[in-house]
Amino acid sequence: MDGALILDHLRAAFGAALVEAHDFRGDHTAVVARDAIAGVLRHCRDEAALGFDVLMDLTAVDYLVYPGREGGSRFEVVYHLYSIAHNHRLRVKVRVPEEDAVVPTVMTVWPIADWMEREVWDMFGIRFAGHPDLRRLLLYEEFVGHPLRKDYPINRRQPLIGPRI
């Protein structure tokens, strides 16, 4: 299905929950309200016409110092979806404010989201409500802060950790 038709389908199904939609050189993006994100993603997988059976990537962006994004939500969590059956793609974004950085987990939709959500928690400090084991994935327990946040000082030194007994 063409990307514009996918967006039309989502707009018809979810209405105002689809906050924004745009395309850039054939790549289509839907920005979804945070309350509706779990339902939209489950619909994307289960609806036969969409059939997004692969979660290609789940990551986040920090817009703290991004020109033109002052005053808006600080973070965006980004889902890249792909359908093997239909060979089409969609990018879904959800905006997350800094003071309440929580997004519902999509582990129940795509189990692969387990480690991706742990990495986003590790690097950006965004929590995923309902995730059963939200520990750091790449860094270690003693690490202070979340290094891919734009306000993490680039030259901050972490305290050295001793041998574990």
Binding site: P147, Y152, N155, R156, Q158, L160
Partner: protein
């Protein structure tokens, strides 16, 4: 001059000579420098000429800890433990700029020089160091071993 003092210094030299030609290394290889380490260790450059031809993959059988490649904060406790497991006498070689200073990895994850964790005897800079630099570093280590006051 007493007989004892003359004998002791000569014994030091004899032990130093023996030790500098029986370097059993523990290669702690974490990154791309490992390829250059392998090139040095193989037949083209042949560090067996310096008595360092046999790497031991157990720290308890090794004399020299070759730290080859970037050390992250997560890896640092492992390196410390391997160093602690080595028996005396032991020496440490920092192989490549990442182990010497952190290199160009001035970021949240990388240890800025392994001398913040363990004592280092010889630094071999380079990204990665040429085999000639490695052999030069190895010979400097041999000099250090040979001329040091021997403990046994």
């Amino acid at each position: 001059m007493g007989v004892g003092s003359f004998f002791t210094s000569k014994l030091d030299e004899a032990i130093g000579w023996a030790r500098k030609y029986s370097i059993f290394q523990y290669p702690f290889v974490t990154a791309c420098c490992g390829m250059e380490y392998m090139a040095t260790a193989c037949s083209h450059y042949d560090i067996d000429r310096f008595g360092a031809g046999l790497p031991r993959f157990s720290p308890r059988q090794a004399d020299v800890l070759f730290v080859v490649g970037t050390i992250s904060h997560k890896m640092a406790p492992v390196l410390k433990r391997v160093y602690d497991q080595m028996t005396e006498p032991k020496w440490v070689v920092a192989f490549g700029v990442c182990t010497c200073t952190g290199g160009f990895y001035d970021n949240y994850a990388t240890v800025q020089g392994i001398d913040t964790i363990i004592p280092v005897d010889v630094y071999i800079p380079g990204c990665p160091p040429r085999p000639e630099s490695v052999i030069d570093g190895l010979m400097k280590l041999q000099d250090k071993i040979a001329t040091a006051a021997q403990r046994f």
